[in-house]
């Protein structure tokens, strides 16, 4: 089990890597979205906000998110640290994402563009 602080740290790493990637920022200029990240086994809520291609991170939950990413703390930390891709946990049900199918696919592509080999 990961702690809230570890999830926060993983999301900071994700945010930093995303914002360092100029190509990703260009790709997502049209995609203003609010993404809530919620752990199921520890008290931990975060909000990623994408505006004009740039992502920012806040602790806590935003109202009316476009996407909600839900999983156990360990899986969330693993995904945002880039130790695992979201595809496996998504396919086996460990990771749930609430939102439109188009947004889910796009989020998946973004994480692969950051961490993919």
């Amino acid at each position: 089990m990961a702690t809230h602080e570890e999830i926060t740290e993983s999301l900071m790493v994700f945010t930093e890597n995303y914002n360092k990637n100029e190509r990703l920022k260009i790709m997502n200029k049209d995609w203003n979205r609010i993404v809530v990240v919620q752990a199921t086994d520890v008290e931990s809520l975060h909000t990623l906000t994408l505006v004009d291609g740039v992502v920012s991170l806040k602790e806590g939950k935003a109202n009316n998110p476009d996407l909600t990413v839900i999983s156990d703390s360990e899986t969330l930390a693993d995904i945002f640290y880039g130790d695992i891709t979201p595809t496996g946990p998504y396919n086996n049900g460990t990771l749930r994402i609430i939102g439109s199918e188009d947004d889910i696919i796009r989020l998946d592509f973004i994480s692969l563009m950051i961490w993919g080999e």
Partner: protein
């Protein structure tokens, strides 16, 4: 008579059956759609296994080739592995040879494709041979994989960038449920209106729109100005649709039987049945030689 069947995840409304002669041998070629129902497709494949000469898998890719690398779509593999006896192909082997050749023929014999022609490939990782051939000719190609598969308005402009991005994302994308990355079943009969509007400019700016027909159709806006479509599977209804949208010329890479062009998977299955050797042993040269003997030519239709 040899029997070749294409089992497709696409709509059953496109089902078709014809009898043709290939190199003096009679063939019955049929297409059977399963409306996006994966289990129905597996059931049909098992039923046909051992009873026909070759099977094509339609509406889904099994293998994507990016230069020397091969990526396997997991859902496609599951379908392929449900067949134990009959040779089964997805068309990727033929695409890699036939479609390169078609681009060269069009460049040599028509004015449709030349250096500087603006080409939109709605998806290119499923037909890397065509993508490479267009680039080698000096066409101004926009690879629309991210645009039309992921909704990301980022036109990829070089084969090198396409390859770099493909190597990053394909190993994982191949594990996703296929319906998330490609229109299957009833989705093939409708358009994604939001994306039609959002991405219309890519179609309007192109002189040639190339790639998988279901993707081309799903995002095609109205008011085109005589563009050329380079694809494979079309029916008379598809041709009427293209005409209505303002398309000027349709080029299909596979031959026309009974008023429609069949998918590459069907044609590859037919070639495998003609060659009569295991698919794993068939080389691109085998296909090229056979295509030459069969005098396979692209069909150019002015609409």
């Amino acid at each position: 008579m040899k029997r070749v069947v294409s089992v497709s995840l696409g709509s059953a409304r496109r089902d078709h059956r014809v009898q043709v002669e290939l190199l003096g041998e009679p063939f019955e070629i049929a297409r059977r759609g399963t409306d996006g129902d994966f289990d129905r497709a597996v059931g049909l494949l098992k039923e046909l296994d051992g009873k026909v000469d070759a099977i094509g898998l339609g509406g889904i890719d099994v293998f994507l080739f990016v230069r020397q690398k091969r990526f396997a779509i997991q859902d496609g593999l599951r379908l392929m592995e449900s067949v134990k006896i009959t040779p089964v192909v997805d068309g990727s082997g033929l695409k890699n040879t036939l479609e390169r050749e078609v681009v060269r023929i069009l460049a040599r014999e028509t004015n449709l494709i030349k250096k500087g022609t603006k080409v939109l490939m709605v998806s290119s990782v499923d037909r890397f041979g065509m993508a490479e051939a267009l680039s080698e000719l000096g066409c101004d190609v926009t690879f629309g994989d991210l645009i039309f598969t992921a909704g990301i308005p980022y036109p990829i402009k070089t084969v090198e960038e396409l390859e770099e991005i493909a190597n990053k994302i394909l190993p994982e994308i191949a594990k996703m449920p296929f319906h998330m990355i490609y229109p299957t079943g009833k989705k093939q009969e409708s358009q994604d209106e939001a994306k039609v509007q959002k991405f219309a400019g890519y179609y309007q700016d192109a002189e040639v729109i190339a790639g998988d027909f279901h993707l081309i159709r799903r995002f095609m806006p109205s008011g085109l100005k005589g563009q050329t479509i380079l694809t494979n599977t079309t029916t008379p209804e598809d041709i009427a649709f293209l005409k209505e949208k303002g398309v000027g010329t349709l080029v299909t890479t596979t031959p026309v039987y009974g008023g429609r062009s069949f998918g590459t998977n069907v044609m590859e299955a037919a070639l495998v049945a003609v060659l009569g050797k295991p698919w794993a042993e068939i080389t691109p040269d085998d296909y090229l030689e056979l295509l030459e003997r069969l005098n396979f030519r692209p069909r150019v239709l002015n609409l």
